[in-house]
Symmetry: C2
Subunit: 218 residues, 2 copies
DNA sequence: CCTACCGATCGGTAGG
DNA sequence: CCTACCGATCGGTAGG
Protein backbone atom coordinates (compact mmCIF):
# COMPACT_ATOMS: atom_id res chain seq x y z
CA UNK A 1 0.00 0.00 0.00
CA UNK A 2 2.52 2.57 -1.12
CA UNK A 3 1.45 5.94 -2.41
CA UNK A 4 2.31 4.81 -5.95
CA UNK A 5 -0.45 2.22 -5.76
CA UNK A 6 -3.19 4.83 -6.02
CA UNK A 7 -3.32 5.96 -9.63
CA UNK A 8 -7.00 6.83 -9.57
CA UNK A 9 -8.52 10.08 -8.49
CA UNK A 10 -8.41 10.42 -4.75
CA UNK A 11 -11.51 11.79 -3.16
CA UNK A 12 -9.71 14.42 -1.17
CA UNK A 13 -11.09 17.49 -2.82
CA UNK A 14 -13.94 19.32 -1.13
CA UNK A 15 -16.96 18.61 -3.27
CA UNK A 16 -20.33 20.20 -3.47
CA UNK A 17 -18.90 23.56 -2.57
CA UNK A 18 -19.68 26.28 -5.11
CA UNK A 19 -16.56 27.90 -6.45
CA UNK A 20 -15.93 30.77 -8.77
CA UNK A 21 -19.29 32.45 -8.47
CA UNK A 22 -19.46 35.94 -9.91
CA UNK A 23 -18.50 37.94 -6.87
CA UNK A 24 -15.66 35.62 -5.97
CA UNK A 25 -13.78 35.65 -9.22
CA UNK A 26 -12.06 38.95 -8.58
CA UNK A 27 -8.48 39.65 -7.68
CA UNK A 28 -7.60 40.28 -4.05
CA UNK A 29 -11.08 39.30 -3.06
CA UNK A 30 -9.93 35.75 -2.41
CA UNK A 31 -7.17 37.03 -0.20
CA UNK A 32 -9.65 38.90 1.91
CA UNK A 33 -11.90 35.87 2.10
CA UNK A 34 -8.96 33.93 3.46
CA UNK A 35 -8.36 36.60 6.07
CA UNK A 36 -12.00 36.61 7.11
CA UNK A 37 -12.28 32.84 7.42
CA UNK A 38 -8.92 32.55 9.11
CA UNK A 39 -9.95 35.15 11.68
CA UNK A 40 -13.16 33.31 12.44
CA UNK A 41 -11.42 29.95 12.80
CA UNK A 42 -8.47 31.30 14.79
CA UNK A 43 -10.91 32.86 17.17
CA UNK A 44 -13.13 29.83 17.58
CA UNK A 45 -10.48 27.13 17.73
CA UNK A 46 -7.26 28.97 18.42
CA UNK A 47 -4.31 29.42 16.08
CA UNK A 48 -2.61 26.17 16.99
CA UNK A 49 -5.73 24.07 16.60
CA UNK A 50 -6.67 25.56 13.25
CA UNK A 51 -5.11 23.90 10.22
CA UNK A 52 -4.40 25.58 6.93
CA UNK A 53 -6.64 22.89 5.45
CA UNK A 54 -9.52 24.13 7.64
CA UNK A 55 -9.03 27.60 6.27
CA UNK A 56 -8.70 26.45 2.68
CA UNK A 57 -11.89 24.42 2.95
CA UNK A 58 -13.75 27.35 4.50
CA UNK A 59 -13.20 29.45 1.39
CA UNK A 60 -13.51 26.54 -1.04
CA UNK A 61 -9.85 26.16 -1.91
CA UNK A 62 -7.66 23.09 -1.99
CA UNK A 63 -5.19 22.45 0.75
CA UNK A 64 -2.12 23.98 -0.86
CA UNK A 65 -3.75 27.10 -2.24
CA UNK A 66 -3.65 29.40 0.79
CA UNK A 67 0.12 29.38 0.33
CA UNK A 68 -0.33 31.10 -3.00
CA UNK A 69 -1.69 34.07 -1.07
CA UNK A 70 0.35 33.84 2.14
CA UNK A 71 3.88 32.66 2.62
CA UNK A 72 3.08 30.74 5.76
CA UNK A 73 0.37 30.07 8.31
CA UNK A 74 2.17 32.50 10.56
CA UNK A 75 2.06 35.26 7.95
CA UNK A 76 -1.65 34.68 7.66
CA UNK A 77 -2.04 35.15 11.39
CA UNK A 78 -0.11 38.38 11.31
CA UNK A 79 -2.14 39.62 8.34
CA UNK A 80 -5.31 39.01 10.33
CA UNK A 81 -4.02 41.07 13.23
CA UNK A 82 -2.70 43.85 11.01
CA UNK A 83 -6.01 44.06 9.20
CA UNK A 84 -7.76 44.22 12.57
CA UNK A 85 -5.60 47.07 13.78
CA UNK A 86 -5.91 49.05 10.56
CA UNK A 87 -9.67 48.92 10.65
CA UNK A 88 -9.63 49.71 14.37
CA UNK A 89 -7.52 52.80 13.77
CA UNK A 90 -9.83 53.84 10.97
CA UNK A 91 -12.90 53.49 13.13
CA UNK A 92 -11.30 55.36 15.98
CA UNK A 93 -10.22 58.22 13.72
CA UNK A 94 -13.67 58.47 12.25
CA UNK A 95 -15.24 58.63 15.70
CA UNK A 96 -12.95 61.41 16.83
CA UNK A 97 -13.42 63.40 13.63
CA UNK A 98 -17.17 63.20 13.85
CA UNK A 99 -16.74 64.77 17.23
CA UNK A 100 -14.77 67.70 15.84
CA UNK A 101 -17.92 69.62 15.10
CA UNK A 102 -19.37 69.09 18.57
CA UNK A 103 -17.93 69.51 22.03
CA UNK A 104 -14.54 68.42 20.77
CA UNK A 105 -12.55 69.78 23.65
CA UNK A 106 -14.45 68.18 26.47
CA UNK A 107 -12.47 65.23 27.82
CA UNK A 108 -15.55 63.50 29.20
CA UNK A 109 -17.09 63.56 25.75
CA UNK A 110 -13.89 62.38 24.16
CA UNK A 111 -13.34 59.49 26.51
CA UNK A 112 -16.89 58.39 25.91
CA UNK A 113 -16.36 58.43 22.14
CA UNK A 114 -13.14 56.47 22.52
CA UNK A 115 -14.82 53.85 24.66
CA UNK A 116 -17.78 53.59 22.34
CA UNK A 117 -15.52 53.17 19.32
CA UNK A 118 -13.51 50.57 21.18
CA UNK A 119 -16.61 48.52 21.96
CA UNK A 120 -17.41 48.70 18.26
CA UNK A 121 -13.96 47.44 17.42
CA UNK A 122 -14.21 44.61 19.92
CA UNK A 123 -17.82 43.55 19.58
CA UNK A 124 -19.05 44.78 16.21
CA UNK A 125 -20.56 42.15 13.90
CA UNK A 126 -17.97 40.06 12.08
CA UNK A 127 -15.09 41.55 14.04
CA UNK A 128 -13.02 38.48 14.75
CA UNK A 129 -9.76 40.17 13.85
CA UNK A 130 -9.20 42.07 17.07
CA UNK A 131 -10.19 39.21 19.39
CA UNK A 132 -7.64 37.06 17.55
CA UNK A 133 -5.06 39.76 18.08
CA UNK A 134 -5.85 39.95 21.78
CA UNK A 135 -5.45 36.23 22.35
CA UNK A 136 -2.94 34.86 19.86
CA UNK A 137 -0.06 37.34 19.94
CA UNK A 138 2.21 34.72 21.45
CA UNK A 139 2.39 32.97 18.10
CA UNK A 140 4.02 35.96 16.41
CA UNK A 141 7.75 36.17 15.86
CA UNK A 142 9.81 39.10 17.11
CA UNK A 143 9.54 41.18 13.95
CA UNK A 144 5.80 40.71 13.67
CA UNK A 145 5.36 41.46 17.33
CA UNK A 146 7.14 44.79 17.18
CA UNK A 147 5.31 45.81 14.01
CA UNK A 148 2.03 45.08 15.73
CA UNK A 149 3.11 46.89 18.87
CA UNK A 150 3.65 50.02 16.78
CA UNK A 151 0.07 49.89 15.53
CA UNK A 152 -1.21 49.29 19.04
CA UNK A 153 0.74 52.25 20.37
CA UNK A 154 -0.74 54.42 17.67
CA UNK A 155 -4.20 53.25 18.68
CA UNK A 156 -3.67 53.86 22.38
CA UNK A 157 -2.01 57.21 21.76
CA UNK A 158 -5.45 58.74 21.24
CA UNK A 159 -6.36 57.83 24.81
CA UNK A 160 -3.35 59.37 26.50
CA UNK A 161 -4.07 63.12 26.31
CA UNK A 162 -7.71 62.55 27.14
CA UNK A 163 -6.96 60.55 30.26
CA UNK A 164 -4.29 63.03 31.28
CA UNK A 165 -6.74 65.90 30.98
CA UNK A 166 -9.22 63.97 33.11
CA UNK A 167 -6.53 63.30 35.67
CA UNK A 168 -5.42 66.93 35.71
CA UNK A 169 -8.97 68.08 36.28
CA UNK A 170 -9.44 65.65 39.16
CA UNK A 171 -12.14 63.74 37.35
CA UNK A 172 -9.82 60.73 37.22
CA UNK A 173 -7.83 60.12 40.36
CA UNK A 174 -5.81 57.18 39.09
CA UNK A 175 -2.65 58.12 37.16
CA UNK A 176 -3.41 58.21 33.43
CA UNK A 177 -1.05 55.41 32.36
CA UNK A 178 -2.40 52.94 34.89
CA UNK A 179 -5.97 54.00 34.27
CA UNK A 180 -5.52 53.33 30.56
CA UNK A 181 -4.34 49.79 31.22
CA UNK A 182 -7.16 49.04 33.63
CA UNK A 183 -9.88 50.61 31.50
CA UNK A 184 -8.76 49.00 28.26
CA UNK A 185 -8.54 45.72 30.14
CA UNK A 186 -12.09 45.99 31.37
CA UNK A 187 -13.26 46.71 27.84
CA UNK A 188 -11.10 44.08 26.15
CA UNK A 189 -12.40 41.41 28.48
CA UNK A 190 -15.89 41.96 27.15
CA UNK A 191 -15.06 39.79 24.14
CA UNK A 192 -15.18 36.90 26.58
CA UNK A 193 -18.69 37.46 27.87
CA UNK A 194 -20.57 39.84 25.61
CA UNK A 195 -23.40 38.16 23.71
CA UNK A 196 -24.82 40.23 20.88
CA UNK A 197 -28.06 38.27 21.06
CA UNK A 198 -28.74 38.69 24.75
CA UNK A 199 -26.89 41.58 26.32
CA UNK A 200 -27.54 45.26 26.18
CA UNK A 201 -26.57 47.49 23.27
CA UNK A 202 -23.05 48.83 22.88
CA UNK A 203 -24.47 52.20 23.84
CA UNK A 204 -25.75 50.79 27.14
CA UNK A 205 -22.44 49.11 27.71
CA UNK A 206 -20.65 52.39 27.21
CA UNK A 207 -22.98 54.06 29.69
CA UNK A 208 -22.22 51.41 32.27
CA UNK A 209 -18.48 51.67 31.79
CA UNK A 210 -18.55 55.49 31.94
CA UNK A 211 -20.53 55.33 35.14
CA UNK A 212 -18.15 52.81 36.66
CA UNK A 213 -15.01 54.77 35.85
CA UNK A 214 -16.25 58.36 36.03
CA UNK A 215 -19.41 58.18 38.10
CA UNK A 216 -21.57 59.51 35.26
CA UNK A 217 -22.37 58.57 31.66
CA UNK A 218 -21.29 62.00 30.36
CA UNK B 1 15.64 3.72 4.92
CA UNK B 2 12.78 1.98 6.64
CA UNK B 3 12.37 2.05 10.36
CA UNK B 4 13.55 -1.57 10.53
CA UNK B 5 16.98 -0.53 9.24
CA UNK B 6 17.91 1.16 12.49
CA UNK B 7 18.73 -1.55 15.00
CA UNK B 8 21.18 0.55 17.00
CA UNK B 9 20.36 2.88 19.82
CA UNK B 10 18.72 6.00 18.55
CA UNK B 11 19.88 9.20 20.12
CA UNK B 12 16.43 10.44 20.86
CA UNK B 13 16.55 10.41 24.62
CA UNK B 14 17.23 13.67 26.43
CA UNK B 15 20.74 13.32 27.78
CA UNK B 16 22.66 15.21 30.37
CA UNK B 17 19.52 15.95 32.30
CA UNK B 18 19.63 14.90 35.94
CA UNK B 19 16.86 12.50 36.82
CA UNK B 20 15.78 10.89 40.01
CA UNK B 21 17.42 13.28 42.41
CA UNK B 22 16.34 12.89 45.99
CA UNK B 23 13.43 15.28 46.06
CA UNK B 24 12.04 14.03 42.79
CA UNK B 25 11.78 10.37 43.57
CA UNK B 26 8.53 10.65 45.48
CA UNK B 27 5.07 9.61 44.41
CA UNK B 28 2.66 12.22 43.09
CA UNK B 29 5.45 14.70 43.09
CA UNK B 30 6.16 13.91 39.45
CA UNK B 31 2.56 14.55 38.58
CA UNK B 32 2.73 17.98 40.11
CA UNK B 33 5.97 18.71 38.30
CA UNK B 34 4.21 17.88 35.07
CA UNK B 35 1.42 20.27 35.95
CA UNK B 36 3.84 23.03 36.82
CA UNK B 37 5.91 22.68 33.66
CA UNK B 38 2.86 22.25 31.47
CA UNK B 39 1.37 25.44 32.90
CA UNK B 40 4.54 27.39 32.20
CA UNK B 41 4.81 26.10 28.64
CA UNK B 42 1.10 26.46 27.86
CA UNK B 43 1.31 30.03 29.01
CA UNK B 44 4.45 30.92 27.10
CA UNK B 45 3.77 29.12 23.84
CA UNK B 46 0.08 28.36 23.92
CA UNK B 47 -1.60 24.97 24.26
CA UNK B 48 -1.55 24.20 20.56
CA UNK B 49 2.10 25.07 20.10
CA UNK B 50 3.25 23.08 23.12
CA UNK B 51 4.00 19.42 22.48
CA UNK B 52 3.77 16.67 25.04
CA UNK B 53 7.44 16.09 24.23
CA UNK B 54 8.23 19.65 25.34
CA UNK B 55 6.55 18.97 28.64
CA UNK B 56 8.18 15.59 29.10
CA UNK B 57 11.62 17.08 28.43
CA UNK B 58 10.97 19.93 30.86
CA UNK B 59 10.58 17.49 33.75
CA UNK B 60 13.22 15.03 32.49
CA UNK B 61 10.88 12.34 31.25
CA UNK B 62 10.82 10.51 27.96
CA UNK B 63 8.25 11.35 25.37
CA UNK B 64 5.67 8.72 26.23
CA UNK B 65 5.80 9.06 29.99
CA UNK B 66 3.43 11.97 30.56
CA UNK B 67 0.69 9.61 29.40
CA UNK B 68 1.35 7.45 32.41
CA UNK B 69 0.15 10.36 34.54
CA UNK B 70 -2.47 11.89 32.24
CA UNK B 71 -4.75 10.19 29.77
CA UNK B 72 -4.27 12.85 27.11
CA UNK B 73 -2.74 16.23 26.44
CA UNK B 74 -6.22 17.63 26.85
CA UNK B 75 -6.63 16.08 30.29
CA UNK B 76 -3.35 17.68 31.26
CA UNK B 77 -4.64 21.06 30.20
CA UNK B 78 -7.79 20.64 32.23
CA UNK B 79 -5.80 19.49 35.25
CA UNK B 80 -3.73 22.67 35.03
CA UNK B 81 -6.87 24.81 35.04
CA UNK B 82 -8.53 22.86 37.81
CA UNK B 83 -5.42 23.11 39.96
CA UNK B 84 -5.38 26.85 39.26
CA UNK B 85 -8.98 27.29 40.35
CA UNK B 86 -8.59 25.18 43.47
CA UNK B 87 -5.64 27.21 44.67
CA UNK B 88 -7.42 30.43 43.72
CA UNK B 89 -10.45 29.43 45.78
CA UNK B 90 -8.20 28.54 48.67
CA UNK B 91 -6.40 31.86 48.56
CA UNK B 92 -9.65 33.76 48.32
CA UNK B 93 -11.16 31.90 51.27
CA UNK B 94 -8.08 32.55 53.35
CA UNK B 95 -8.19 36.25 52.55
CA UNK B 96 -11.83 36.55 53.57
CA UNK B 97 -11.34 34.56 56.76
CA UNK B 98 -8.41 36.67 57.85
CA UNK B 99 -10.76 39.58 57.54
CA UNK B 100 -13.31 38.00 59.86
CA UNK B 101 -11.56 39.43 62.89
CA UNK B 102 -11.40 42.92 61.44
CA UNK B 103 -13.99 45.13 59.80
CA UNK B 104 -15.60 42.11 58.24
CA UNK B 105 -18.89 43.70 57.43
CA UNK B 106 -17.63 46.72 55.60
CA UNK B 107 -18.14 46.20 51.86
CA UNK B 108 -15.35 48.60 50.93
CA UNK B 109 -12.93 46.54 53.00
CA UNK B 110 -14.24 43.31 51.58
CA UNK B 111 -14.01 44.37 47.94
CA UNK B 112 -10.46 45.50 48.58
CA UNK B 113 -9.54 42.13 50.02
CA UNK B 114 -11.16 40.37 47.09
CA UNK B 115 -9.28 42.49 44.61
CA UNK B 116 -6.01 42.06 46.43
CA UNK B 117 -6.44 38.29 46.58
CA UNK B 118 -7.32 38.27 42.91
CA UNK B 119 -4.13 40.11 41.99
CA UNK B 120 -2.26 37.50 44.01
CA UNK B 121 -3.99 34.74 42.08
CA UNK B 122 -3.22 36.37 38.75
CA UNK B 123 0.25 37.75 39.30
CA UNK B 124 1.76 35.89 42.21
CA UNK B 125 5.14 34.23 41.57
CA UNK B 126 4.89 30.95 39.66
CA UNK B 127 1.19 31.38 39.04
CA UNK B 128 0.91 30.25 35.45
CA UNK B 129 -2.18 28.14 36.09
CA UNK B 130 -4.76 30.90 36.07
CA UNK B 131 -3.34 32.75 33.06
CA UNK B 132 -3.54 29.47 31.15
CA UNK B 133 -7.13 29.10 32.24
CA UNK B 134 -7.95 32.62 31.10
CA UNK B 135 -6.52 32.14 27.62
CA UNK B 136 -6.85 28.50 26.66
CA UNK B 137 -10.41 27.55 27.63
CA UNK B 138 -11.32 27.10 23.98
CA UNK B 139 -9.35 23.87 23.92
CA UNK B 140 -11.57 22.24 26.54
CA UNK B 141 -14.35 19.88 25.61
CA UNK B 142 -17.93 20.43 26.75
CA UNK B 143 -17.67 18.37 29.92
CA UNK B 144 -14.43 19.99 31.00
CA UNK B 145 -15.79 23.40 30.21
CA UNK B 146 -18.85 23.02 32.39
CA UNK B 147 -16.83 21.56 35.25
CA UNK B 148 -14.53 24.54 35.10
CA UNK B 149 -17.45 26.94 34.87
CA UNK B 150 -18.73 25.57 38.16
CA UNK B 151 -15.45 26.36 39.89
CA UNK B 152 -15.40 29.82 38.35
CA UNK B 153 -18.93 30.50 39.53
CA UNK B 154 -17.94 29.47 43.02
CA UNK B 155 -15.03 31.88 42.86
CA UNK B 156 -17.08 34.79 41.59
CA UNK B 157 -19.88 34.10 44.02
CA UNK B 158 -17.85 35.76 46.75
CA UNK B 159 -17.94 39.01 44.81
CA UNK B 160 -21.68 39.15 44.27
CA UNK B 161 -22.99 40.13 47.73
CA UNK B 162 -20.17 42.60 48.21
CA UNK B 163 -20.85 44.39 44.94
CA UNK B 164 -24.57 44.34 45.61
CA UNK B 165 -24.04 45.95 48.98
CA UNK B 166 -21.90 48.63 47.38
CA UNK B 167 -24.55 49.20 44.76
CA UNK B 168 -27.31 49.41 47.35
CA UNK B 169 -25.36 51.97 49.34
CA UNK B 170 -24.77 54.10 46.24
CA UNK B 171 -21.03 53.60 46.40
CA UNK B 172 -21.22 51.69 43.14
CA UNK B 173 -23.59 53.13 40.59
CA UNK B 174 -23.17 50.44 37.95
CA UNK B 175 -25.41 47.37 38.42
CA UNK B 176 -23.53 44.70 40.37
CA UNK B 177 -23.50 42.03 37.65
CA UNK B 178 -22.09 44.32 35.01
CA UNK B 179 -19.64 45.88 37.45
CA UNK B 180 -18.33 42.44 38.31
CA UNK B 181 -17.63 41.65 34.66
CA UNK B 182 -15.92 44.97 34.04
CA UNK B 183 -13.87 44.94 37.21
CA UNK B 184 -12.73 41.33 36.86
CA UNK B 185 -11.87 42.12 33.25
CA UNK B 186 -9.70 45.05 34.24
CA UNK B 187 -7.90 42.86 36.76
CA UNK B 188 -7.60 39.81 34.52
CA UNK B 189 -6.04 41.88 31.78
CA UNK B 190 -3.15 42.71 34.08
CA UNK B 191 -1.56 39.36 33.27
CA UNK B 192 -0.85 40.85 29.85
CA UNK B 193 1.11 43.87 31.03
CA UNK B 194 2.16 43.46 34.64
CA UNK B 195 5.89 43.03 35.07
CA UNK B 196 6.95 41.89 38.50
CA UNK B 197 10.41 43.33 37.95
CA UNK B 198 9.37 46.83 36.95
CA UNK B 199 5.87 47.72 38.03
CA UNK B 200 4.49 48.66 41.38
CA UNK B 201 3.65 46.19 44.13
CA UNK B 202 0.38 44.30 44.16
CA UNK B 203 -0.63 46.51 47.04
CA UNK B 204 -0.11 49.64 44.94
CA UNK B 205 -2.00 48.04 42.10
CA UNK B 206 -4.90 47.36 44.41
CA UNK B 207 -4.87 50.96 45.56
CA UNK B 208 -5.00 52.17 41.98
CA UNK B 209 -7.87 49.87 41.07
CA UNK B 210 -9.85 50.79 44.18
CA UNK B 211 -9.39 54.45 43.40
CA UNK B 212 -10.46 53.96 39.81
CA UNK B 213 -13.62 52.06 40.67
CA UNK B 214 -14.59 53.56 44.00
CA UNK B 215 -12.78 56.91 44.10
CA UNK B 216 -10.79 55.95 47.21
CA UNK B 217 -8.39 53.16 48.25
CA UNK B 218 -10.57 52.27 51.25
C1' DC C 1 8.18 5.34 33.95
C1' DC C 2 11.13 3.71 29.63
C1' DT C 3 11.47 1.41 24.95
C1' DA C 4 10.20 1.39 20.58
C1' DC C 5 7.07 2.40 17.68
C1' DC C 6 2.75 3.73 14.71
C1' DG C 7 -0.97 6.03 12.21
C1' DA C 8 -2.45 10.35 11.22
C1' DT C 9 -1.91 14.83 10.23
C1' DC C 10 0.21 18.99 9.19
C1' DG C 11 2.69 22.94 6.97
C1' DG C 12 4.60 23.54 2.97
C1' DT C 13 6.32 22.90 -2.05
C1' DA C 14 7.35 21.85 -7.24
C1' DG C 15 5.41 22.10 -11.35
C1' DG C 16 1.94 23.26 -14.10
C1' DC D 1 -5.04 28.40 -7.96
C1' DC D 2 -4.92 22.93 -8.46
C1' DT D 3 -2.32 18.40 -8.47
C1' DA D 4 0.20 15.42 -6.12
C1' DC D 5 3.15 14.88 -2.91
C1' DC D 6 6.87 14.93 1.01
C1' DG D 7 9.41 15.28 5.35
C1' DA D 8 8.66 16.12 9.87
C1' DT D 9 6.27 15.92 13.80
C1' DC D 10 2.83 14.79 16.94
C1' DG D 11 -0.34 12.48 20.28
C1' DG D 12 -0.67 8.30 21.81
C1' DT D 13 0.14 3.10 22.82
C1' DA D 14 1.73 -1.94 23.84
C1' DG D 15 4.60 -4.27 26.51
C1' DG D 16 7.67 -4.47 29.90
Amino acid sequence: MTTLAQPLIQDKRPRGRPRKTLDERDDGNRRHQLLQCAARLFRRKGFGATTTRDIAAAVGMHSGSPFYHFKSKNDLLYAVMEEGMRSALERQDKAMQANATGRADEPMMQIRLLMRAHFDVLLGPGNDFIPVMLYESRALNARQRSALAALQSEYEAAWVPVLEALHASGRLQTPAALARLLILGALNWSVQWFDRKKAASLEDLTDAAMTLFFAEPA
